[in-house]
């Protein structure tokens, strides 16, 4: 117990270790938060979902905080629904089974650019006669523009930019620009202020109802932006954290423990067991590591757990088994092993209770420093298109962006967000591992 305390105190003397620990703690916190707030199945359903899940989001939208760094404020996307009180809905029953339903959306528009698209998603309930709506646009300077009027089926999507009648009304210019631009300017510029969209609906049946969701696809979205499939990048960025940590930890722990066990068994029994382990190591050196992982991914399964297993199997018999063997050969001759043998301890007892525990201090820095390489390995496979097909991961985001030519098209946020997280994870563990190495291997401290 005391040794742990003193080692911990020693670790804290390294500023890099403190930074590393803070980064790792933040990552663990994010991972736990993610797994609690977005359950696994929910995350997968959303990540694999298409238009029906993500219709509220624009495509290729950078994150909203872009506005903090630019003079020209870009419109931020939003959605207002009449079902949950984000819009004002007034229902009147003048009699005769007829009812009027008025929905008013009020929103501020303080931006310097036009949005991509305005969409209304109508849902209505009726038996035979459709409700009828007329849509009106009220600008901040109180101009009233008639947008459209039509009957609403059970489900109807109305896109402003695709309405030809409306386009003709604005002499052929895009209706979005027409609706938002300031009439007193010669070049189209959005008029800032509070806009209102009013839907006056008439329902002709007793139990008929009408609801509508107003979606404004701006140029920016949310905390992390969106990708080519309108998906909110917050989801894969958050879920990538537990996946990356789990993959890195399990791979490095599994590899190091198994390597150590094989090295210990080899040195303890010696003879043909040792020779066999040495030969396997030499054969493994010939095997192309990455090619085999790619083959497993292409031919067999792209599941992250299968890849994890293959990674561990291929990483057991590497050069490190030889360096462990060299240390075990020294430990094997030490007095306490001699004593254990003298009182008749069994082979397994000596290997697992005396030989391996002796190596734990050496194992910890090695384990921590090898985590980043495994985290990056997962991302590397994803870059090759061999990422887990189901799970959202950081590497998968980079791969999607790479396939879509994000850097070429200028969607830098799409690549940079997962890359920064990967780098943070890598540096966090590498810095801590470096300090641990110096604490546990005092010989290095003088150099």
């Amino acid at each position: 117990m005391n040794t742990i305390k003193t080692s911990f105190k020693q670790i804290l003397q390294y500023p890099s270790a403190i930074v590393g620990i803070i980064v790792i703690l933040i990552l663990i916190g994010v991972a736990i938060y993610t797994m609690i707030t977005i359950p696994y199945h929910e995350a997968i359903r959303k990540w694999r979902g298409g238009e029906e899940v993500w219709y509220q989001n624009p495509k290729y939208a950078p994150p909203s905080w872009y506005n903090l760094f630019s003079k020209k404020k870009q419109p931020i996307s939003f959605a207002l629904s009449s079902t949950n009180g984000q819009a004002e809905k007034v229902v009147n029953h003048p009699g005769g089974g007829v009812s009027t339903i008025d929905i008013t959306y009020t929103f501020d528009y303080p931006y310097d650019d036009f949005p991509q698209e305005l969409i209304l998603y109508f849902t209505s309930t009726y038996e035979s006669k459709q409700p009828f709506v007329s849509i009106q646009w009220i600008t901040p300077d109180k101009r009233k523009i008639k947008v459209a009027n039509f009957g609403v089926s059970h489900q109807l999507t109305y896109r402003f930019a695709q309405d030809e009648k409306l386009t003709r009304k604005f002499n052929g210019t895009n209706p979005i620009i027409g609706l938002f631009s300031d009439p007193n300017q010669s070049t189209p510029q959005p008029l800032k202020g509070t806009y209102q969209l009013v839907i006056n609906g008439v329902a002709f049946e007793e139990n008929s109802d009408l609801n509508a969701e107003f979606v404004l696809h701006g140029k920016l979205f949310g905390l992390a932006g969106t990708d080519n499939n309108r998906r909110d990048l917050v989801l894969p960025l958050l879920w990538g954290t537990p996946v990356a940590l789990a993959f890195g930890l399990l791979a490095s722990l599994g590899t190091l423990l198994l390597t150590m066990i094989f090295a210990a068994i080899g040195t303890w029994y010696g003879g043909w067991v040792d020779a066999l382990i040495q030969r396997i190591t030499e054969i493994n050196l010939v095997l192309p590591f990455l090619s085999i992982l790619i083959m497993v991914g292409t031919f067999y399964s792209r599941s992250i757990w299968v890849i994890l297993g293959a990674t561990i199997l291929l990483s057991i018999f590497t050069g490190s088994i030889k360096s462990y063997r060299a240390i075990f050969l020294q430990v094997k001759e030490s007095g306490y092993i001699e004593a254990a043998r003298a009182y008749g301890a069994s082979n397994t007892r000596i290997i697992f209770n005396y030989l391996i525990p002796r190596m734990i201090p050496l194992l910890i820095p090695g384990m921590v420093s090898s985590i980043p390489s495994f985290v990056f390995l997962e991302a590397s496979l994803a870059i090759l298109g061999l990422g887990d097909p189901v799970l959202p991961t950081w590497g998968k985001i980079i791969n999607d962006a790479d396939v879509d030519g994000a850097l070429y098209k200028g969607y830098y946020y799409w690549v940079l967000e997962p890359a920064v997280l990967l780098m943070m994870t890598g540096l966090g563990f590498a810095m801590l591992g470096y300090a641990l190495d110096r604490v546990f291997n005092p010989r290095l401290r003088e150099l």
Partner: protein
Amino acid sequence: MDADGKEQIPLLKRFTNTTFFRVLRYTLMRIITLFITVVIGIYLTILIANMGGYVDQIMKGEIKERITMSMAADPKSRNLSPEVRQKLIEERISLEEKRMGLDQPLFVRTVGYLSNALTLRLGRAINMTSDSGSKTVRLILLERLPATLLLMGTSELSLFFISVFLALSLSRRYGSFWDKAVIALSPTSAAPPWFYGIFFILIFAAILKILPFGGMVDVPPPSSSFDYAMSVLKHLILPASSLIISSLFLSIYNWRTFFLIYSSEDYVEMAKAKGLPQKDIERRYILRPTLPTIITNFALLLIGIWTGAIITETVFLWPGLGRTLYRAIGLFDIPVIVGSTIIYAYLLALTVFLLDFVYALVDPRVKVGS
């Protein structure tokens, strides 16, 4: 030999005691064990490349689909009766399977692959063709070799020499600002080259627009050979520097630590006390005993050049061996996969074998076969 037979040692025993015999026996043993290692390694690769017969099912399914589709699209076959057409389809399928060797059992085929690979008869690719249209594996690999040698050779060699020389000068004044900077930067090597590649593309290609996004030469290729070389050079900068930067600091750090261990030996202190010039100390007292390690690293680096960098080449669209291997895996082209692996395995075995003798040459403490 004396006549009275005091020192009568049988001829054979005398022969077995000579250095020549010892070296010969060691050499033979070494060749045999290395060969067995290569054989097992290659056979394992072949088995994995077949996924225990699973790949056969994929390939058979693909053949069936392709032939059925082509028959359905062929206007001539429309007039045939369904029975005749079905028979024709089956005939073509079996012919195609025979061409790919799928009619033989898996074991026979894998052993065939193995013996062909070991005798370096790389054979013909199943699906891939070289740019000149050949299906010979040798040509497919040879065509890509220059691109990989250029990229990997430039980056690995500069990485090696830069890090060894910088490490040597850092080990001379350890604790200085630059020394500490290298130590602080060494964790950056946790990220693989493609990761830096993405940042380089972002900065130099997307934002500054001074270097190309990828590829190896401008499209269309310049006609004069000087312009061609300049264009290749321009395309080489980003992939090569991302390969270098991703391992530079860790490499310097490792070499520096390694040199420091040797420069704190007593005989180095002694040389310093004698007042030998710094240059001589470095060359004769530090570099000389570290030579075996430097040579090993250099040799492993040279064969590492052969494998190419699969992901960096993919990110930079560099037409090298790594990308060819990746494409071969995607097309289930086992001859190409095995061909590229066997050459690596042979190179590795040869290097390991030669290193033993190089050690004996440069290090008087090492004796071959002892």
